[in-house]
């Protein structure tokens, strides 16, 4: 990764809030708050954070799936399509639909409810391909689907089964096969390996890496499991209360975690051969409807100072790719 990489997806000051109105009173959930992301071609970008930190909403926004009550408040989202940067936030529903699954695809979390339970997997593939590829090519693409299924080490007869006949891991792998069948440039995974057994999880990670290697595309993957990130991601963004608080290459994040929250996330993981006491992050995650003033982590942070309670620090560059938003790390000039 020495040469300068081409950016494929970029956000600029992205703000997406849930605006709920109840009997005149307005409640605003700040799920994605001033996020500046730059994701490159041919990389796996991991997003880590606790549940309720806005990761799933961020993915939805990146997938350009912004529907009420979620509203885009501010900011821009750019995809790089045919060597030109396109702002996709203003696209019509039809244009969005054309990009979906062909240019950017989505791997959902609970594959239990993804498939139609009364239809064979073959039918889901047919529907899916049929709605994206017109007439002539359909046969070819279906052929491709068949080949992809075999390539990914799934049994030949998987297309003839009903969803309930497959185990959770198998279903997840079929979901991934479906998401990759039209060779999308970007694949977005929302906790694709959570709720799977460790051995199956390892198989699914293996499969995602293989797909990425052969398509040379980009995978943006959300999971709370730092172990999974260490194994799959090239770069990681740490999300807390709707904001990216630290970003860097996987090596940098694990070797030199700089935000106190990242340090907690990594140091709380139990390791084999080490039974020393491990602490979890103190307190509990803030509600996104009522984010603390200043740095949102300050109520749980052991190093909190006055300025932390007043003002949110900007992302400061530590070195090339490593950025952190914390007053402890030279955030003063930001």
């Amino acid at each position: 990764m020495a040469e300068k990489q081409q950016t494929i997806l970029r956000t600029q000051n992205l703000q997406a809030f849930y605006v709920l109105e109840m009997q005149g009173a307005q409640k605003i959930v700040k799920a994605v708050n001033e996020v500046n992301l730059q994701v490159y071609e041919n990389e796996i970008y991991g997003i880590a954070g606790e549940s309720g930190c806005g990761k799933t909403t961020l993915l939805k926004t990146l997938f350009n799936e912004i529907a009420p009550p979620l509203r885009l408040i501010e900011g821009k989202l750019y995809y790089r399509i045919n060597d030109a940067e396109v702002d996709v936030t203003g696209m019509s529903a039809d244009e969005k639909r054309r990009l979906r699954m062909e240019y950017i695809s989505y791997i959902p979390q609970g594959s239990m409810s993804v498939f139609n339970p009364v239809q064979r997997i073959r039918g889901t593939f047919q529907d899916f391909i049929g709605s994206h590829v017109s007439g002539k090519n359909r046969e070819q693409v279906f052929e491709l689907a068949h080949r992809r299924v075999l390539e990914l080490g799934l049994p030949r007869n998987v297309l003839d089964t009903y969803p309930h006949q497959l185990s959770g891991g198998m279903r997840q792998r079929v979901t991934i096969a479906l998401a990759s069948v039209l060779n999308p440039r970007i694949m977005i995974g929302d906790e694709p390996t959570t709720a799977l057994d460790v051995v199956v999880q390892r198989g699914v990670i293996q499969m995602l890496k293989e797909i990425q290697r052969s398509l040379k595309n980009t995978i943006i993957m959300v999971t709370h499991d730092m172990g999974v990130h260490a194994n799959i991601a090239d770069r990681i963004g740490i999300m807390y209360a709707g904001k990216i608080v630290e970003e860097g290459t996987t090596e940098q994040i694990f070797a030199n975690p700089s935000h106190p929250y990242t340090q907690f996330l990594i140091n709380s993981l139990p390791k084999f051969g080490d039974k020393s006491m491990r602490d979890s992050v103190p307190g509990s995650p803030p509600s996104l409807a009522d984010v603390p003033k200043g740095c949102p982590f300050h109520p749980r942070c052991p190093h909190a100072r006055d300025i932390c309670r007043q003002q949110m620090p900007d992302l400061t560059r530590l070195n090339d790719d490593h950025k952190v938003a914390c007053w402890l790390v030279g955030g003063q000039d930001g």
């Binding site: 730092m226 260490a230 139990p270 084999f272």
Partner: protein, 333 residues
Amino acid sequence: MVRLLEVSKLTKRYSQGNIIDRTVFTAVDHISFDINEAEVFTLAGESGCGKTTTAKLILGFEEATSGEIRHNGKVQTRNEKPWLTESVQAIFQDPFSTFNPMRRVDSYFHETVQNFRLAQSKQEATARIDKKLRLVGLTYQEIAGRYPSEFSGGQLQRISIARALVTDPKVIIADEPVSMVDASLRMSIVNLFKQLRDELGVSILYITHDLATAYYVSDRIAIMFRGKIVEMGSVDQVLMKPKHPYSKLLRDSIPQADPRQRWTTTVTLAELEQEEYLRQGCRFAGRCPDVMDICKSVAPADIRVDEALVQCHLYADQNDRQTAASYSMKTQP
């Protein structure tokens, strides 16, 4: 040492299909283990390995096909369901479905106190509940009159533990207590188990698929695979020096939070779990890298290797040569 809970040759068979075409498969197959006082014992394995069925059998939710569960030396019968005995309590996986969303959380505590007649008056009950809640880092004030939706998953799981503690149990059966809790809060639950064991002398049957927390918290561990315990011993033995090829695979598949330790080898996944259940001989034979001819026809017996029990033919020969006597003693039908 007092054996609080002894399970011997516990078996549960389920049958599937109709009268003509019936498949019987053994979800829990002759498993034996015991739990001592003030000990965390882990039952680990993948989903579909029978660990939850084992918990259900111990709690009396399911009737065992054969085998015995002794509790404090007494055999458990149909009429003495252990949840009525105060000394065995349970914690379940999903804290959000443990509690009825329409019911106030504190009512569960009062109900438990009433069921076991643990207090004479309301004040006494509240004092008892408050004491238990303080053990998990909460107070009665914090939960009184509130609904489950007002708590986070980690908090609810701690409330669930406090609820289990109300009867002063000797054993807590915890079925996947951390798998629905955020990684950052997971350690607070696991640390709580350590604290309960060390300070109150409560034993915990920790059922999990997460070997990393199992290593951190438990004293002994049993690895289950397709209804059988394939390896059992102290955590240091089993997880640091796994013997059974399946334990090795399981141990290697845990993603390490260290980008320098990425996996370099690939794994083969089971195609159908039922196939493995119905397999003759060793159930891991289809995926085992060290498979031998005997594995496909004969089910291995328990073999003692370095303080651990292993069900694998790989160790039979070696053991035969070295300690023939102890091997014949340990062989079980």
